[in-house]
Symmetry: C2
Subunit: 335 residues, 2 copies
């Protein structure tokens, strides 16, 4: 199976590493190997129809800042001119326009190529259009890692729990905010907790996407569209971030044996991101950078999942699970 | 799709109810209906190649104590003489011999019929033999509900996380024990907590299967064989139940901000059931009747799941998820 990787930052590199780590598993269990035939970052690319060495790509990127020596003018043209089976779209997220990621995904689906992505922008902005494009062209669009990183949620809800009527999902979908709020629980003021998150690499230099709740809002939109079959977009979400959470509010909550957590909530009628009071001991009262979600459904009742919401290899592990599902489907077709 | 239900106690009745509830979904999403062509309990049966009314079966069982008016001498012969596609095996568990459930499953697999079961006895005693029988006959054996009830665990590990190298699973797999230990946390002595569990219907009149850890041991064996590919049986598990947990031990644990929980643990080298000290706030320190499991794998890191470990509809919901996976497979084959 020939894959093209669009975007070679942290997640793209992690994906290449995981493909290298699982080399033997692919051929042993799925009857074909996985070859990276194209890897592109924002400026350069490397291509080889016989397959590139995944670890060499990572090394090259680390040393030179570029994944390859060749440059390209249009990623769309580059993708169009490459023979591949699956596009792994992990270029930087643009939640305003969808950016180059949106172009890449459309380009792949139009050609009937399967797509695995964790790019939240295109999914939050144009989910139904992309799903229809995939269906019309007989291919699949998978995006397990776009919500909750390594925490199983999308495929769990849409495949394992496909027989359930899911009433609501409430969760912590941003590890950065949860880290900051957890540190504030120990008495640290917001600004200091944020600085600590930045020093540890949990928060960006410009942290607004996380702390204003925008990232969580994207994930809530993806869940609403994919799990609840709704047709909503980013601007439909009622969003309150954590910048207005005061030290006094945290202290007052603690007096009542509660913590404040940034909760994303989605149901057939709700679409909301806001700081909420959560009783200590509750499944959503977790501390640190983990993500967690409570799925409430009619037959199974409440199901809670948690896992690492971010990380190079963790996010790549979600991409791997989607890749394997696609390999399973290909094998089924060829039987 | 024609199903035969063997066993018409709580779970069998719940399954019939769920099949009735999802009638429209089957035909709409999978292109075929689900007809119960045979329902049998230990003494009687009802059969109709055109399909029995699921809710009438439940009603009949409740009113008369029998699922049908006909009686049978050999369940094996009855199953052999019935035309069906999938056997739902939910007869009472026998963890010593496998009981009639083992016979029924073998009988179905030998004829190439798919099997969905939550019957722990046959799975804990003869897992690999049954898996091979299924493979040799081109059919599938699914058993999501056998561990953790509605908590997703088996299919999560063997399907969603199939690309992971799972290092270990540690969990609370028996809601009865967890309820008793949770009550002991509040100062109740063991005997009184057990009595309360019995009054609430969480514990059997003969509670040994739960409190001696045998039920948890069965689940640990099922996980070892199915998720870890080991070849172990019930007698290989090192089992300590909760009868030796004293009020003093609980109080001492509380002094150190810990609780005692009955933990099942399985890895490539471990196979153990024992009461363990768990720090408060830890994912395994849950109270009440929920089940929970921590899956540790090489790429995703730690993933925690929790859900209702028992219950008529909850267990049936796990059976439903397996049934739908089988319908998906049938649809794939017919395309």
């Amino acid at each position: 199976m020939r894959v093209a990787i669009a975007g070679f930052g942290t997640v793209g590199q992690g994906t290449a590493e995981v493909i290298a780590m699982r080399g033997d598993m692919f051929s042993r269990n799925y009857g074909e190997d996985v070859r990276i035939v194209l890897a592109m970052d924002s400026r350069s690319y490397a291509a080889d129809p016989e397959g590139l060495d995944p670890l060499k790509l990572v090394e090259t990127k680390k040393v030179t800042g570029r994944v390859g020596e060749s440059t390209y003018a249009s990623s769309r043209r580059l993708l169009s001119e490459t023979d591949y089976d699956v596009l792994i779209e992990v270029s930087p997220t643009d939640i305003v326009t969808g950016g180059v990621g949106l172009d890449n995904i459309i380009c792949a689906l139009e050609r009937g190529k399967d797509v695995v992505t964790v790019n939240k922008g295109p999914l939050a902005l144009r989910f139904h259009e992309l799903s229809e494009l995939a269906e019309d062209n007989g291919c699949v669009l998978r995006f397990e890692g776009s919500v909750g990183g390594a925490m199983p949620i999308i495929n769990l809800c849409t495949e394992n729990l496909v027989g359930e009527r899911i009433r609501s999902i409430r969760g912590i979908f941003n590890g950065t905010c949860n880290f900051i709020l957890s540190r504030m629980d120990t008495g640290l003021p917001f600004e200091q907790a944020l600085k600590e998150a930045q020093q540890l690499g949990y928060a960006e230099t410009d942290p607004r996407n996380d702390i204003e709740g925008f990232d969580t809002a994207c994930k809530v939109v993806i869940l609403a569209n994919s799990v609840f079959g709704r047709d909503v977009k980013f601007s439909d979400v009622s969003v309150t971030g954590i910048t207005s959470v005061t030290d006094e509010a945290i202290a007052l909550a603690a007096d009542h044996n509660m913590v404040v957590r940034l909760i994303g909530e989605v149901s057939d009628t709700k679409l909301e991101v806001a700081p909420r009071l959560i009783p200590r001991g509750h499944a959503l009262a977790i501390s640190g950078t983990l993500n967690t979600a409570q799925i409430l459904s009619d037959l199974a009742g409440p199901i809670t999942v948690s896992g690492r919401g971010a990380g190079r290899i963790e996010t790549a592990s979600a991409i791997l699970s989607d890749l394997l599902a696609i390999m399973d489907r290909r094998r089924g077709k060829s039987l």
